[in-house]
Assembly symmetry: C2
Homo-oligomer: 241 residues x 2
């Protein structure tokens, strides 16, 4: 992990700070940015939560293990995502491991005391934090519901739709450097089910080549995915943190 | 639905207000309590979120529907639980239906403006709200992980362990007036899988007779369930809202 100059971009890149440019300006000098390599561990499950992490660029996976040795992938974070919310609570520890999935992944860390005093000093900012936490719940809850209502192919399609958020147009070429077994684990399916799902998505205009996913027609994919989703396509406000 | 005198108990019954007896006292006069009948709809998906709801006594299910007609059960709330957190956010609507599952269910509603001004006027109280929202995320996330790491019988066992929380002793007789197809839907399994799971739980000292679940030995059940859980039994702080 290499510390860099604080090139922390602007508040627009992080929905958490979207409506709080002054707070972003206050926090910026305290942010430590780092460029990380593939497989680097950033956060260890059980460690004291010392910072809130922002993904500037790249990919990070969040994982946990059961006592009997199974690993679960509970999060895949990319540009603009936030992890380590445990930092918001006194004496909390990180509830997962976070490790980097792609070379050159750029992360920014806001120290615990800074983020907590921001909340204390700016009650209105706590609204943004609450919205972030509520989005987390909505996303996790929705994924849980989708396990009952959607096919594996539809759930993969939903993940791809999320990657296309904030992009214009109907045609998209996505580079997703996530190993297949990790993506399968994240989507709560077996790797062979993921392969079958990729085949089935051809009918919805999606083709896959290695880490490259080509979405021919976003509307067609949306139609295929959203008819079986409890949010039925009204999820634009979810998951943009 | 019948309005009653405000017999809203004390703050200890609601972890949300646990550390804020003064706030509870301020909010109490504004709380409207109601005694509801089975199948009564309390909240409609899409309606403007006008109140935060507390379950004083009884059972409420939270459900949603997909465009293609499937129903999902996303929550089963009982004594001490809270629903309708959407009220915390301006112009939000309820993201689910809430309907009563047992006659005599007693609910209390805190109006939107009251709960929002409480947060505004008491920045420290927003910590309690954030903890509530974070618990929600943790619970939903954990259920999602358990879909991969735990068997259906273990997931049913986990649900029963939650019902035994805050109870003393090793032997417990639980009355859970939740129809089998609703409980199965909540646990993301088919009704026939729930039946099989009940059979399997006999080996962990659990017997079932209608709506009555008898847990012979909590430690034995915990051992059976928690070895395959990413929280591995450290979930005492989760789900107590």
């Amino acid at each position: 992990m290499r510390a860099t100059q604080a090139t922390t971009g602007n508040s627009k890149e992080f929905p958490l700070f979207n409506n709080y440019p002054a707070i972003w300006q206050a926090v910026s000098p305290h942010i430590k940015t780092r460029i990380c390599s593939k497989d680097e561990d950033v956060v260890h499950h059980g460690d004291n939560a010392s910072a809130l992490w922002l993904v500037m660029k790249g990919w990070v996976k969040l994982t946990r293990q059961t006592p009997d040795g199974k690993e679960t992938t509970i999060g895949l974070c990319s540009d603009g995502d936030v992890f380590g919310e445990a930092v918001l609570f006194p004496n909390a520890s990180y509830p997962y491991n976070a490790s980097v999935m792609a070379d050159g992944t750029e992360l920014a860390a806001i120290p615990a005391d800074i983020i907590r005093s921001l909340i204390c000093d700016n009650p209105s900012f706590s609204n943004s934090i609450m919205a972030l936490l509520n989005d987390r719940t909505t996303q996790a809850q929705l994924k849980l519901e989708q396990m009952s209502t959607m096919s594996a192919a539809q759930r993969l399609g939903c993940f791809l739709l999320k990657q296309c958020e904030n992009l214009n147009g109907n045609f998209h070429k996505l580079n997703i450097p996530v190993e297949k077994h990790v993506l399968a684990a994240y989507l709560s399916m077996k790797p062979e089910t993921l392969s079958r799902s990729q085949q089935q998505l051809k009918n919805a205009g999606v083709s896959v080549n290695g880490h490259e996913f080509v979405v021919d027609n976003l509307s067609m994919l949306r139609h295929f995915v959203c008819e079986s989703c409890p949010e039925s396509g009204n999820c634009d406000d979810i998951g943009n943190d």
